[in-house]
Amino acid sequence: MFLHIYMYRLKCILRDKQNVFWTLMFPIILATLFYLAFSNLSNAESFTEIEVGIVDNEELREHPEFTEAVKSVPDLFNVTYTTKENAEKLLEDGEIEGYIHFDDGLKLFVKESGINETIIKSFLDDFLQTSSTISTIISQNPAAVQNGLPDSVFDRTDYLKAVPSGKAEPNTVVNYFYSLIAMACLYGSFSGLKEVLAMQGNLSYQGARVNMAPIHKAKIIIASMSAAVSFQLIAVTALLVYLIAVLRVDFGNQVGYIALTSIVSTITGVTFGTFISSVNRQSEGVKIGILIGSSMIMTFLSGMMYDKMKYIVHTKVPVLSYLNPANLITDSFYALYYFDTHARFFTNIALLCGYSVLFGTLTYLAVRRQRYASI
């Protein structure tokens, strides 16, 4: 039964030419356009170490663990230890991308917003996270200090990945492609919409007929969603293969994690679509409008049209970064590319899973309602 519904739903999705164009072809076309537009840029901007200033003061010396952490990523930063005034001047002249000042806590000063600034900030965030872990351990279990625990915590030379210098990949461009993948995943929402229309008695005649079958609604939903997810995975895989094999965009070599990100993101996209289409009572056209509009806004905020957007959101309205599935998707790729540890990556994936479960549950609750007020 499950397989029967699944196969036929997949057939319906694959034969819907409009849907296939938007979810399969459109991202590939867009990727090609991005590629053509950025190909000049990419030659100029190969990855180099990020110039960073650190203000050398008392407070810095009180935190040798920070200096250690900086030293642990020699290929990522080129550090200048200097005075506050000089750092200010270097930043003004564009000699450095930003400087770090220990002044009653860690402070970062930057002039522009961009990928490099985001990397510095992420580094600091990671550092703060690790050090607060340690203070918690110490305060809860002072004996641990004697056992040399803090050392082992800091002794994580690999905790920030050093991107090999001279790597061909342009770091600002890659984010456009990340958001493009995010968009492709979120376009799963259109297949999700199609599935809800096909099973809801008050949304389509076909749905009314499906409702007359002696089958539990949950079974139909799961089979239909699986079909939508499968198709979207085909679309996202095609895009990834095209990006990697044809356009030679470098995503690092963590294929497993990239696959995981794509699968989870696709499920988020599909469930987002089923959720939007099952909870509002508007017409199909309005629903499509809502889906297009929301995926545009989400991918815009994650940096698809303007790469600094991601950073702006991250600093100005951090909570939005976590609420925006598109951003979580781009950020997962981003974390894979720049970081060796997967803490940040898995935070994103966990949030995406959370959203999928939430959207899926809400869809079920909305669709399960069995008699309709009006057909």
Binding site: M1, Y205, A208, V210
Partner: protein, 312 residues
């Protein structure tokens, strides 16, 4: 009793679509639900099927309360909705197979049933066609095949012949008879009285969400006062003739319509011969003569004071 509906009330906001609607369908009958557009036929069907919420009343199918999760009841129902409900992306064969597969798990059995359904609606040469490529009549036949392939014991058809060419209409009506002969109980809704008269063994006439009359077609016609409508071709238009005809004991009305005299009679015997006798004795030359027994339209007209359907 296959279906038993008791005092069903369904409102859409301020509009009362079903107003204490009652219905009983017995095993083996072709039950007709006849009523003008908007009288509540589709609403009644959708409530019976547990697709629609209703405000009051009880519905039993096969002696048990009908509910959305009454799967063992649903398994025995075939439904042909008033709107064609097939998937545009699937071919004729696939559509039938898809819906049939929701009832029948066994693949081999399903293949046989789908083949039988295709043969039944005579769509064999269209099996690979997408619905877009089918004419209105063929599409309706596909719609029917999707509803009956699993051989349900109760088949509900909601206006299955709307916008259908005469040939397809004939096939559909014959098909319904055949399904009934094979043992299925049929509920058939329509606003075409001729169809209902032709195939239904029992008929409920609906108006404004209520059943206003119920019985076999003869019983229904027996309920009213009107007798046959007599039409006589007369070449001379003499108003005296009308006066004379109207004065005949059992004649209710008489009018000229072009060169035809149209007279309506009350129920009774020998109305036609009395009229002809009068014309002959008045030495009026008559041409062709027709006598039509009362129709369900007359029944509807007499009970509600309006025509069953607008003269389109």
């Amino acid at each position: 009793m296959i279906i038993k509906v008791n005092n069903l009330v369904k409102r859409y906001d301020d509009l009362i679509a079903l107003d204490h609607f009652n219905l009983e369908v017995k095993e083996g009958e072709i039950f007709g639900l006849l009523g003008p557009n908007g009288s509540g036929k589709t609403t009644a069907i959708n409530c019976i099927l547990s697709l629609l919420k209703y405000d009051k009343g009880t519905i039993e199918v096969y002696g048990r309360p009908m509910a959305p999760d009454a799967y063992d009841i649903k398994r025995n129902i075939g439904i042909i909705m008033q709107n064609v409900a097939v998937f545009d992306e699937l071919t004729v064969y696939e559509n039938i197979d898809y819906f049939c597969g929701m009832y029948i798990k066994d693949k081999k059995k399903r293949r046989e049933l789908v083949e039988e359904a295709i043969e039944f609606v005579e769509l064999d040469s269209f099996r690979k066609f997408l619905p877009k490529k089918l004419s209105g009549g063929l599409l309706r036949r596909l719609n029917i095949a999707c509803g009956i392939a699993h051989k349900p014991k109760l088949i509900i058809l909601d206006e299955p012949t709307v916008a259908v060419d005469p040939q397809s209409r004939r096939k559909i009506l014959e098909g319904i008879r055949k399904l009934n002969d094979d043992g299925a109980t049929i509920v058939y809704t329509s606003h075409y009285m001729e169809e209902v008269e032709e195939i239904c063994t029992r008929i409920a006439i609906m108006d404004k969400g209520k059943v206003i009359a119920l019985g076999t077609k003869d019983e229904l016609k027996g309920m009213i006062n009107s007798g046959e409508k007599i039409t006589v071709e007369i070449l001379e238009h003499n108003p005296d003739i009308l006066e004379g005809v109207r004065s005949l004991p059992n004649i209710v009305s008489a009018e000229f319509n072009d060169n035809m005299l149209v007279a309506k009679s009350r129920r009774g015997k020998n109305n036609l011969s009395a009229l002809l006798e009068y014309l002959r004795s008045s030495q009026i030359n008559v041409g062709r003569i027709y006598s039509e027994p009362p129709t369900l339209n007359d029944v509807f007209l007499e009970i509600t004071g309006k025509e069953l359907r607008d003269h389109a």
